[in-house]
């Protein structure tokens, strides 16, 4: 098929067209550079500040560290329980991600394969549930968890995380299952599989790119969650990394920039590693699911 071309009398002269195209390329390139700068500069500053001494950070404010020091990291590991808090964050994030993937995939599967007339409504309600700001829910949640004896426990934190990861997971996995043809599961059922086998052996492997992108989103959400841990957790041993970072700001009075940047770098590394390892699947998930 040929694309409809502009009528001859409306076409620009060849030289003008070349000029327009060059301007467009320069504009796009400039935009990309600006965007990259906006995204990467804070990272650069965070990492370089973590290896500068106090003088370079607060007084000289050098862009490139003149003297590299790991004192901030040494102090961080000696003075705070950051490793323990990292471990708390990691296991809670992993657990919530795992539970979300299992429950959200099964729910999304049911919403795309059965319950067709009501599925759209249920899916929308789950999205609306995700859109409700945490700050609105925090007090009812606190009251409910206190009645259940789950305040200041990881179980309470996990339940509160699931309240926003599950709706997001269902919405994303639903978009993923909608792209997978139903006939393959039907073929599996005729081939002798039961519904669970058709789901786990046929549908889930095909939904893998969607599972990976949903898992990464959920994991990042849990990793960076601040409001629920700050309200629900009050013992140092149960804290997550976001509370550690908050503590290092010293309530805005006595900010230890070196420690704070070292802690931020430590908190970012796991997410970056996960992203790097799984980015192939993530891109495939975006392409397949068409997630908004």
């Amino acid at each position: 098929m040929t694309s409809p071309s502009r009528p001859a009398h409306k076409r620009l002269p060849r030289r003008n067209r070349r000029k327009t195209s060059a301007i467009r390329s320069v504009t796009v390139f400039g935009g990309v550079v600006l965007l990259l700068f906006l995204v990467l500069f804070p990272f650069y500053w965070m990492v370089t500040a973590s290896i500068k001494n106090f003088r370079e950070i607060s007084i000289e404010r050098t862009l490139v560290p003149r003297e590299v020091t790991f004192k901030n990291y040494v102090d961080l590991f000696e003075q705070t329980s950051i490793l323990w808090h990292l471990f708390n964050t990691a296991w809670i994030s992993c657990f919530v991600t795992f539970v979300t993937i299992i429950l959200a995939s099964m729910s999304a599967y049911v919403l795309t394969r059965f319950l067709t007339p009501t599925a759209e409504w249920i899916a929308r309600i789950s999205l609306y549930a995700y859109m409700v700001p945490s700050i609105v829910l925090i007090i009812p949640f606190y009251i409910g968890l206190r009645m259940a004896g789950l305040v200041n426990t990881h179980a309470g934190l996990i339940l509160s995380y699931l309240s926003f990861t599950l709706p997001l997971g269902i919405w994303m996995m639903r978009a993923c299952f909608q792209t997978i043809p139903k006939t393959m599961e039907e073929a599996a059922v005729v081939d002798g599989a039961n519904r669970f086998e058709a789901f786990f052996l046929i549908a889930m492997p095909q939904a893998l790119p969607g599972v990976v992108s949903t898992a990464i989103f959920v994991f990042i959400l849990c990793w960076g969650e601040y409001l629920y841990p700050v309200v629900l957790i009050n013992s140092d041993r149960l804290r997550t990394i976001t509370i550690t970072l908050d503590a290092l700001t010293g309530g805005g009075q006595n900010i230890k920039f070196g420690l704070l940047m070292a802690a931020s770098t430590v908190a970012t590394v796991p997410i970056l590693l996960i992203f790097l390892v799984l980015q192939k699947h993530l891109v495939r998930g975006f392409a397949a699911g068409g997630y908004e």
Partner: protein, 371 residues
């Protein structure tokens, strides 16, 4: 071998009835084609046999056992889907072994069966490939391999050739037919292509709007269609249907086409004509190959079963083997099929001979065959 019986089978989608009172038998070991236009319910019926759709009314029996309440895996049927439905994350071998894995067969037995199926279908060299690396024809063969590997009671094919190009379709048609001759298993094949149904099936079931119109061998359907729908659906080019009435003219029975001059009906032909009262509207059905040109058809000269009409050529189509002439008749256009080549052009006025002994009469009101 296994017989499949449909007893007053029906199905509703919401308030719409998609299948009504389906009653026919698929004799054991037969190759049966379900055919009909889009939306007639043929695929739904096949899915009901497989257990993928609920049977709302009536019963389906496989090998004498009602399967209404049986899960698909307990019906012992294998199905080949229109889009092949191969598992993309499994190799060809894994696709074929999946059903045996579900049936908890031993590894040795599964491998033996898989190799046997691969040998029958010529898939030995493709076993470690993924479906995305296969051509359309190869995927089709893998889908069939997945079906035959479990040695089911009944094979179901849901328009398996519709995604293939014309050449490959002819090749696969022959392959499926050979497979049936080799295995002898009951096969039910859904298609909307009447050529596929006529060339492959031993028995054809024609469906329209959820009802069975006719069941019979391909030639029964071709030679004695029970109504106008079947007459028009089976055969390519389609049967000519000329509207008109039967009248007595000077003691002779004549067919009077709408807006046309009477054509005398030779005695002893068109038994259905006697059932049509004078002035009652009907359709004369005549296949394109039963209209000839005087002098061209050696059988047409001496016989007394021909009527003659004059018509102007509108279009000539040459296939190489045959010549199709479309001519303007009194009531619309008629198609004439001449075996071999014939030199004519649009605008020529020709005299055509209608072989009344091979023609049919249909009631204009009910569409039913009269004889």
């Amino acid at each position: 071998m296994v017989q499949v019986v449909f007893n007053s089978v029906g199905k509703d989608f919401g308030r719409d009835a998609v299948l009504r009172d389906i009653e026919f038998e698929v004799p054991a070991g037969r190759f049966v084609a379900l055919i009909g236009p889009s939306g007639c319910g043929k695929s739904t019926l096949l899915r009901m046999i497989a257990g993928l759709e609920h049977i709302d009314y009536g019963e389906i029996y496989i090998d004498g056992k009602a399967v209404n309440d049986l899960a698909p895996k307990d019906r012992d049927v294998a199905m080949v889907f229109q889009n092949y439905a191969l598992y993309p994350h499994m190799t060809v071998a894994e696709n074929m072994l999946f059903t045996l894995r579900m049936a908890r067969r031993t590894r040795a037995e599964s491998n033996d069966r898989m190799w046997e199926a691969a040998r029958i279908l010529g898939l030995e060299s493709l076993l470690d490939r993924y479906p995305r690396h296969l051509s359309g024809g190869q995927r089709q063969r893998v889908a069939m391999g997945r079906a035959i590997v479990r040695n089911p009671k009944v094979f179901l094919f849901d328009e398996p050739l519709s995604n293939l190009d014309a050449k490959l379709r002819v090749q696969m048609r022959a392959e499926i037919k050979r497979l049936h001759q080799r295995l002898g298993t009951t096969m039910i094949f859904v298609t909307h292509d009447q050529v596929e149904a006529m060339t492959m099936a031993e028995q054809v079931v024609i469906l329209r709007e959820g009802r069975v119109e006719q069941v019979g061998t391909p030639l029964e359907l071709y030679d004695r269609p029970t109504n106008i729908f079947v007459a028009g659906f089976i055969g390519s080019p389609t049967m000519n249907l000329i509207g008109g009435t039967f009248e007595q003219d000077r003691g002779r029975l004549c067919f009077v086409p709408r807006n046309g001059t009477p054509i005398p009906v030779p005695p002893g032909t068109l038994p259905g004509a006697s059932k049509v009262g004078p002035g009652r509207e009907c359709f004369l059905g005549i296949r394109p190959e039963h209209i000839s040109l005087p002098g061209l058809d050696p059988n047409s000269d001496g016989g007394g079963s021909f009527g003659e009409i004059s018509a102007e050529v509108v279009l000539v189509e040459v296939t190489g083997l045959d010549t199709h002439i479309v001519a303007s008749a009194p009531d619309g256009e008629i198609t004439i099929l001449i075996r071999g080549r014939f030199d004519t052009a649009a605008g020529d006025r020709l005299s055509f001979r209608l072989n009344f002994s091979a023609a049919h009469v249909f009631d204009a009101e009910t569409g039913e065959r009269l004889d």
